[in-house]
Amino acid sequence: MSNKNIFTDKLHVINIGTKNFGEGLREQGVKVATINWRPPVDGNLLRMMRRCDEVGLTAKIEDANKHVLESMLTSDPIWIGMRPAIEVLPGMKENYILHSGPPRAFSDLCRLHHKGVIGGVLYEGWAASEEEAIHLLESGKVELHSCNDFATVGAGAGIVTPSMPVNICRDTRTGQEGFCLPFEGRTGLGVWGVYNEEVKNNLKVITEVFSPAVNQVLAENGGISIKNIIARSFQMNDEIHTRQTAAGLILLSEMAPLLLKSNLDRETVSVCIEMLSGSERWFHPLGMASAMCTLRGIKGTEYSTIVTAIASGGVETGLKVAAMGEEWFTAPSPHLHGKFFTTKWGPDDASPYCGDSTITEVVGMGAFAGAAAPAVLRLRGGTCKDAIAQSEEMKAICIGTNYNYPIPLLEFTGPPIGIDIRKVIETGITPVCHGGIISKEGGQIGAGIARFPIQVYIKAMYAFLSKYGIK
């Protein structure tokens, strides 16, 4: 860094603290940038972090993070198929039901999960009534596990039972796979935790008609490149979390010809196209599964301080960090702020953040790519400038920008990618994430944004330092 001369060059000031000093300089025609400074979150932790320099840990962290960033940027996720969970999820067993967020006992589940896992037991036909289902769950004969521990993204409630089909994305570079339930529609069991006859019939079509057909077509054609679709949709107002209007249409335009030229019967093709065109949100699970396969490529990277999961279960939110493998760090789930679909619903109806869709933010999409999707910012009355500011703010806690996804409003630079827990603690800035607002009773009632709690980052940082010998 070259040292700048205040006597020979024009003054250009950064003001940290009292606004008056900045104003006084502006009155004199000086350019002043303001730092939105906030006090450090944990002085003791910061002192411990500074010791990383002394013991040579910083260089190892920087190296590991550089490698991780490279891996995230060069990852090449392909949507390769749809198969029942039991066949493809690593470690999945016949009596398991998965849910979003960190692991939780049946007795401690939020209402949405509680209803969802009971629905899951009924859907699998393990019980004939709710009472029987509850009994099975309480007895432990049906085990509950966290989606994220099974390479799966639990969007919304994230209810995954063994026979449900999941989307499979594979990173061709690492061979790692990531999984996510298909989007059932405005109502459904997997995402919205709702189980009734309509949901049951819809799931039957997805399981018996849609997913075998799609699986066949993808296998015949070598799959569909996800990165390619996201790159294009980022220039069409999508951010791939709350909004995937463009990505959904591009997906349909890629799938339709493949379906039509396959040997599938006309009725099956028709069902598939109806499904895909019925909701542009069909792309949402693919964005998430692709994020998962990318992140599995960096999980367990020694010395890396990069976040590999933000996942919330309506009660608790959990964090995973590359060097810490599958260890969870948890704190209470944040609330979403945003707009409700109708005035019938309000904040009291909303569950605290529930769902693992924040994996999109972990790979620099969603709220981090807010600048790509000003329309999403309008949910909170935001402007284009606010959208840009949101992406700029997240740069403060990320290690790089994603050149794969240039965003017009960011002068065609990419969104920030790679959340570094050190930066979160140093700046006190925690990730913002977009998300659907889910009713406590199940079903989506709005969309908004949440800021995730600093406590999980503090816990993770202490654990990281302890692992590498800094006490």
Binding site: I14, I16, G24, T34, T343, R378, L379, E392
Partner: protein, 520 residues
């Protein structure tokens, strides 16, 4: 009752419609509003709230459904106006290109603004040092207003800056001027040939202001912070400043201002002063003037005299060494005696309330030579220490910038309204004859300092008249015509209240002193 309005072939995106829904909800007489495009999915939403009327059911995906639950029919057109207004609305906010950018961290700001060369820091002392070091490591100089930065941090910062050809003005630095740009709580000063290095904020300001008022100007005024001349810091910034100004072609005369440095540091300063190619004027408040003269520098008795000597040196005029105090007394005696005679026999004491730190120290030293039993909350120059800074005794001068008064409030330089209660207490004391105070102008300072105490001064004058006393107000104001507050306007306001106004802090103190003392 549910009213359904269909707007055919009108497409609006769902996010915009959420805004419409919210705004319609605010219309009088509207209980519920659902505004959606007529897709099948949206119809299920309407059905859930019991609003799927036959009209809504018949709407196509290309039509907008406005479903309103209203108290009476007249609410419907009002609600529809909301839609029209929102649709015809221009951009949400006016583009504001003058809006300056803000960043969450210094590192990010520097990445985006590589030309940034100075960090102005006014965080609390425990955090200021860390951010200052961060700025230095990014190649920037720093102006640190913050007090209470640990001494060892200050030393580390200043050593780093010296090694890297950067500047650390402060910590505890109130004023500086870089190429005519005023930093901190500083007046606007014309550019000129006088270079100033000072450990005292109001000291730098008063010298610069008085140089400006005499038609000269300042090349650079470098604040060092109050502890720069301590033994531990060893005058790092002042020595850096001396080196810079000695070599600077724009600077003809150098002025140093501070409280007396630690003897070890003092020796370093004098050694450097002796080597200077340029004339140097030194005002070390209450220090040994013979030592200054021995170093080859001009010694000044007051801030005003330092400014006067500097101006003469710039102009090449002869310097007469004379006794500043007796000269001033001789000049002001006649007018002061007129005021003295207006006081009644009980009015024996002077009370001073000060905003500027160096102003209060200079004033208390001068008054201690004129008046007996001078008290203060400053343990300085042999003045008697007030038992309780909140209670005046006999002749008293209180530095209102004392932490005791400023806890949780802005410093009196920024907002003199902190003086009002104390002004009232002193002004209603029947033994008080003279109230002395100072006001400072400049950037980042209150836009109307006189305005903050005007009512109190007027009420005191009225109260004194009712009590059959005359109260003498004396003030110094420190500022220039170019200041945001314009010193001449502030002076007019004070004079309209019958205040004796001086532009020199020392003159105000001496005048106030002889009004109380009377004839020698």
């Amino acid at each position: 009752m549910i009213k359904t309005v269909i707007k055919e072939n009108l497409y609006l995106d769902s996010i915009f419609l959420m805004t419409v829904t919210r705004e319609m909800q605010k219309v009088n007489g509207v209980r519920e509003a659902v505004v959606v495009m007529g897709t099948e999915m949206n119809k299920t939403v309407l059905a859930e709230v019991g609003a799927l009327t036959p009209e809504a059911q018949a709407a196509t995906a290309n039509s907008l459904i406005l479903s309103l639950d209203v108290v009476e029919d007249s609410a419907v057109p009002e609600a529809l106006k909301v839609l029209d207004n929102l649709m015809s609305q221009k951009a949400d906010r006016q583009e504001d290109d003058t809006r300056e950018r803000s960043f969450p961290t210094v590192d990010l700001a520097v990445q985006e603004l590589p030309c940034a060369n100075l960090a102005v820091i006014s965080l609390s002392g425990e955090f200021a040092g860390q951010e200052a070091m961060n700025a230095l490591k990014n190649g920037m100089s720093t102006f640190i207003f913050s007090d209470n930065v640990p001494l060892e941090e200050e030393l580390e910062l200043k050593r780093y800056a010296r090694e890297h050809n950067l500047w650390v003005m402060g910590p505890g630095c109130g004023t500086s001027v870089i190429n005519g740009i005023s930093l901190g709580l500083m007046s606007k000063i014309s550019q000129g040939a006088v270079g100033i290095v000072g450990a005292s904020g109001s000291g730098i300001q008063e010298i610069a202001v008085l140089v400006d008022q005499q038609g000269e100007g300042v090349s650079q005024a470098i604040g060092t912070g109050g502890r720069d001349l301590s033994k531990e810091i060893g005058g790092i910034t002042m020595l850096q400043g001396l080196d810079y100004l000695d070599a600077d072609p724009k600077t003809k005369v150098i002025v140093l201002v501070s409280k007396p440095p630690h003897p070890e540091t003092c020796a370093k300063i004098y050694a450097r002063v002796k080597q200077s190619k340029k004339p140097i004027v030194i005002f070390f408040l209450g220090g040994d003037r013979s030592q200054i003269e021995a170093s080859g520098a001009y010694s000044a008795a007051t801030l005003e005299e330092a400014a006067n000597i500097a101006v003469k040196l710039v102009r090449g005029e002869p310097i007469q060494q004379e006794d500043f105090l007796s000269k001033c007394i001789a000049q002001m005696k006649t007018e002061a005696m007129i005021e003295h005679r207006k006081l009644n026999c009980k009015q024996k004491f002077l009370r001073g309330l000060y905003c500027g730190g160096t102003h209060s120290e200079e004033a208390v030293l001068l008054l201690n030579e004129i008046l007996p039993d001078m008290h203060s909350n400053l343990s300085f120059g042999g003045v008697k220490l007030l038992k309780d800074p909140k209670v005046s005794e006999q002749n008293s001068l209180v530095d209102m910038g004392d932490e005791l008064f400023t806890r949780g409030r802005p410093h009196p330089v920024m907002d003199p309204s902190i003086l009002t209660d104390r002004l009232w207490t002193e002004g209603t004391d029947p033994e008080v004859g003279v109230i002395l105070f100072d006001l400072l102008l400049g950037y980042a300072v209150h836009p109307d300092p006189v305005g903050t105490i005007r009512d109190t001064l007027a009420a005191l004058r009225k109260q004194a008249a009712q009590d059959g006393r005359n109260l003498c107000f004396v003030a110094s104001i420190c500022g220039t015509r170019q200041d945001p507050q314009d010193i001449s306007l502030q002076k007019q306001q004070l004079e309209a209240l019958g205040v004796h106004v001086f532009y020199s802090n020392s003159k105000a103190a001496i005048f106030a002193g002889i009004v109380i003392r009377g004839e020698e």
